[in-house]
């Protein structure tokens, strides 16, 4: 339990570093993402993952879906604002996502396959 708390301290400290970096350099990023990049960089330099950090990050990542839920339900309460455009919105989202998923899978699969054929390039 203390291990999770120590890991949580590290994560929150990196979130703060992210805050500072975003403010100081006027980055177009959220502080969470800036913090994540800084944490990755720090781990790469240290080449060692502490037990604490693993213990705290695993449950938090598992909770991601829960954490975005409060924002997501907002759409049910502001539906009037976009009346008359719902069909457009649904078609754009569903078709657009289907097409982009298809493109990404195809592109990545092809590029990984070329890499496999010529592994020493």
């Amino acid at each position: 339990m203390l291990s999770i708390l120590r890991g949580f301290l590290i994560l929150t400290a990196f979130l703060m570093l992210g805050d500072i970096a975003v403010e100081l350099f006027a980055l177009p990023l959220s502080s969470g993402v800036a913090g994540m990049l800084l944490l990755t960089l720090w781990l790469l330099l240290r080449r060692r993952l502490s037990h604490d950090l693993g213990a705290a990050s695993q449950p938090l990542i598992g909770m991601l879906a829960l954490l975005i839920m409060p924002g997501v339900v907002g759409i049910f309460f502001q539906a009037d604002e976009f009346s008359g455009q719902w069909l457009t919105i649904f078609i754009a989202l569903i078709l657009g996502t289907l097409l982009s998923s298809l493109t990404t899978l195809w592109l990545m699969q092809r590029l990984v396959a070329t890499l496999r054929e010529r592994p020493h390039e």
């Binding site: 994560l11 913090g35 829960l66 975005i68 924002g71 309460f77 657009g96 996502t97 982009s100």
Partner: protein
Amino acid sequence: MSELLLRLEGLVHTLPQRPETAIVLTLAAYFAGLRLFSWLRSPAWCPPILLAACLLAGLLALLPLDYIEYRRGVGWLTWLLGPATVALGVPLYQQVHHIRTLWKPIVLTLPPAAMLAAGYAMGIAWLLDATPTVLASLAPKSVTAPIAMGIVEELRGSVSLLMGALLITGVMATLSITLLARWGNIHDQRVIGFALGINGHAIGTVRAFDIGPTAGAFASLGMSLTGVFTALWLPLMWHFVG
């Protein structure tokens, strides 16, 4: 007795404003969503997050609690999105050897894939005569929530429409990638995970971790790279075109 009733009436006013009320409702809806999901025999077309969001919306509509109050109360929980985003650096680091061997396909796939994730939906919406506000709100639909909110504010879109778009996109990306991978005979966890992260942000990443740790790491990578890349190009492009 009348005093008790009076206090009860006071409670009706104060209880909805309390953080614990918002948190209890959110967690209860979340677990009920998970229950319902396994009771429905885990349908691929309807992930637990969609069920949970509908249950939560139903609860909020029935109770004398408005959404603004709820958002204020639940802030304690949503704040955790910050450290949770930072935590994604851990699987990223753990899978760095995979990423090193695959850096070329990753670097080549990311820019077109991230641009098309926004571009297809915006193009279709534009063809169907969507208003600029709708276009701006749909643009960061494949980007993880905390970054997407920043982008949508810069483009002057609607945050709540964006959140709805994120839900639909995440669900749709998870569903279509699962089906397309099965249909196209793609079993490479790295490819599936990366596609889930680029197109399906946090919802896709949750699904990728269900598939396996490698898929999860590639999804975290795809999600974070898409977020960073989109945060950089989309506002520039938007001001250039608009």
